[in-house]
């Protein structure tokens, strides 16, 4: 029983990584009605930027704030330059654009910072948290930051004028325009926020998985699995899904022999497929009703 409890705790700790990513995936889909494939790569690039700033002697929190601001601006610029002209194009063209962006960012990061694995500092320290060997203060801090982001986003979309306008622009663009919302800029704002959330997730994840240009691949897949499990329409579900996926991954690794790190991605895939077959709306999502 103690082994079980410990594994659940460790699962929550790894789950926080997935929760971060799932939150970015779902939140942005809600806000701009599009899912950005290059999200993970953008987060990776931002994390490298913060690492570079720290190498130049900027203190952690200074680099943190600068990076979030940089990512926000970069997200808006990318949207204005590359994706605004594609707004009316078929989804396929957009997916191709995301892939192109993915290739460009990955390759440029590899060129500037090369592919060697780098250590990344944590502001929370890495000593055991509350005397437990399984969860470090960094992981606890990461969980805290994820929940804080969720809370802030909830308030932003619920109680601010801009948040309301963004939701309106995403759900009914025509009507939103009629009441005077600049829907085009709402999308740009969504991109900026996605990029900023991604950069925070990246900086939280980097101390755990280490910094390198391909660090986000597995995390993105797990984040997506978490989002599917929690329900693609629910940010709360996405975070819960992230923790559940982390716990699930740890328990499977402990109790089923022969399942190790090499099976990480197939487990995520199996999870996605099972959820889609058994409960397509996810645990917390609402079923999408289409009028015919």
């Amino acid at each position: 029983m103690e082994l079980f409890a410990n594994q659940v705790l460790a699962g929550i700790a790894t789950g926080a990584i997935y929760a971060c990513m799932a939150l970015a995936v779902v939140m942005i889909y809600q806000a701009i009605d599009h899912l950005n494939f290059a999200q993970g790569e953008m987060a990776m690039f931002s994390t490298f930027v913060s690492w570079q700033l720290m190498q130049w002697g900027v203190p952690y929190w200074g680099a943190f704030v600068l990076t979030v601001a940089f990512s926000f601006a970069a997200g808006i610029i990318i949207e204005r330059l590359l994706f605004k002209p594609l707004a009316k194009a078929p989804i396929l063209t957009n997916v191709a654009g995301f892939i192109a962006l993915y290739a460009i960012i990955n390759s440029v990061a590899g060129l500037i910072w090369d592919f060697t694995i780098k250590q990344y500092p944590t502001p929370f320290g890495s000593s055991p948290f509350l005397g437990s060997q399984l969860i470090s203060t960094h992981q606890a801090g990461m969980i805290g930051i994820t929940l804080l982001m969720l809370l802030l986003l909830f308030f932003f979309f619920r109680f601010t004028r801009v948040g309301l306008a963004m939701r309106a622009a995403a759900s009914l663009p025509e009507s939103a325009r009629l009441v005077g919302i600049n829907t085009s800029w709402m999308i740009a704002l969504g991109w900026g926020m996605a990029s900023a959330i991604g950069s925070i997730a990246g900086m939280m994840i980097a101390p755990v998985v280490f910094l390198e240009p391909n660090m986000m691949l597995g995390v993105l897949i797990y984040g997506f699995a978490a989002a599917v499990l929690g329900g693609l329409t629910s940010p709360f579900g996405a975070v819960m899904g992230g923790f559940l996926v982390g716990i699930f991954e740890n328990l499977v690794g402990t109790y089923i022999p022969g399942v190790g790190n090499e099976l990480k991605l197939p487990i995520a895939l199996a999870l996605i497929i099972v959820v889609l077959v058994v409960k397509p709306a996810g645990l917390f999502g609402r079923a999408i009703v289409k009028r015919v």
Binding site: A89, A96, G97, A103
Partner: protein, 338 residues
């Protein structure tokens, strides 16, 4: 009011391509065919090998084109089907001692089944989410192939070596040349079958689903069946291409079938023109030769060059090679008039 409006204003996943615009004219097809038959007689073995790969990737790109251009579904997981086909062929040849030509239909059938089954959960997703789910399939595949359980058959990380077949009946041909003509024959057969498929009742059902799912189901098209069927057919053709690829390269290993391959195939389709089957060969040429050119421009930046080129295609010629072909045709017609 809102629900109805949403459906009307929703952007189409893929632009509608009329059925007639999917293929080449009779005369042009013959010219292309003649070129494909004659060129290998005059070039070196290495170029023949590259042309074989060109045909193989063209098959895989065409398979994706049937799925996306035909039925309007995305897939970034084609590398997984390609890998399954390649491994099926390689295992049958090396462990069961089967003739290479016989392994191809088996690879096709195995992949058809695999694709059909994967199509079931994929029904729940559309658009970008489907792309992401298939993306997960593609990234998981190399790890599955490396698994210890299957190592006896798959050779684990090391992979399998496949022997290259000789020309039969004592034909005076090099192995490469024989393999090229063999691949060409298979490709032509599959191309003709695909064109016929798209012109048949099933093909019309695919296109009806692509253009408007609700209208299609109102017309009595079994949407779920045809969507999974499209996945199956596409996976089957990709599997045959994978089998051919294994024979041509003489080697299968998990790291040969990463997400990179799936992305390449997707790019090939976009460059060739979605829904235009002959464009597959143009797209295939793009994914085989452009990385070399990109590496020539800058070694570390080949991915970036690739991405920039893709953006250029999206912005300048959104319909890919099809658009270029149409413009060329119009120019030719104008010249004739003068």
């Amino acid at each position: 009011m809102s629900a109805a409006e949403e459906i009307v204003t929703e952007a189409a996943a893929v632009e509608a391509v009329p059925k007639r615009a999917m293929t080449l004219g009779y005369g042009t097809s013959l010219v292309v065919l003649a070129a494909l038959i004659l060129i290998p007689l005059f070039v070196k073995n290495f170029i023949i090998f590259q042309m074989t790969m060109l045909l193989i990737y063209a098959l895989a790109v065409m398979a994706l084109n049937i799925l996306t251009g035909g039925s309007g579904q995305f897939s970034l997981g084609q590398s997984a089907f390609y890998a399954v086909g390649a491994y099926t062929s390689a295992i049958l040849m090396e462990h069961a001692g089967m003739n290479y030509a016989l392994t191809l239909p088996i690879a096709g059938i195995v992949c058809f089944g695999f694709g059909f089954l994967f199509g079931q959960p994929a029904l729940r997703l559309s658009g970008v989410y489907l792309a992401l789910a298939t993306f997960a399939l593609a990234t998981a595949m190399p790890q599955l192939l490396k698994l210890g359980y299957f190592e006896h058959w798959t050779g684990g990380v090391q992979g399998l070596v496949v022997t290259k077949p000789d020309a039969p009946f004592g034909l005076p041909m090099s192995q490469d040349m024989w393999l090229y003509y063999f691949t060409l024959a298979v490709s032509i057969g599959i191309y003709i079958a695909s064109v016929n498929l798209l012109r048949s009742r099933s093909g019309r059902a695919f296109m009806a689903i692509r253009d408007n799912e609700i209208a299609a189901s109102a017309m009595g098209v079994d949407v779920a069946l045809y969507k999974t069927l499209a996945f199956g057919v596409s996976a089957g053709i990709t599997g045959v291409a994978g089998g051919l690829g294994a024979i041509a390269v003489q080697f299968v290993a998990p790291d040969g079938y990463t997400i990179q391959l799936a992305i390449s195939l997707f790019l090939g389709m976009v460059v060739g023109g979605v829904g235009w089957l002959p464009g597959s060969i143009v797209g295939s040429a793009f994914i085989i030769f452009v990385p070399n050119i990109a590496e020539g421009i800058s070694k570390g930046l080949s991915g970036a060059v690739f991405g920039v080129l893709l953006f250029l295609v999206i912005f300048l010629v959104p319909h890919g090679a099809r658009q270029v072909a149409i413009v060329a045709q119009q120019l030719a017609a104008k010249l004739k008039k003068n």
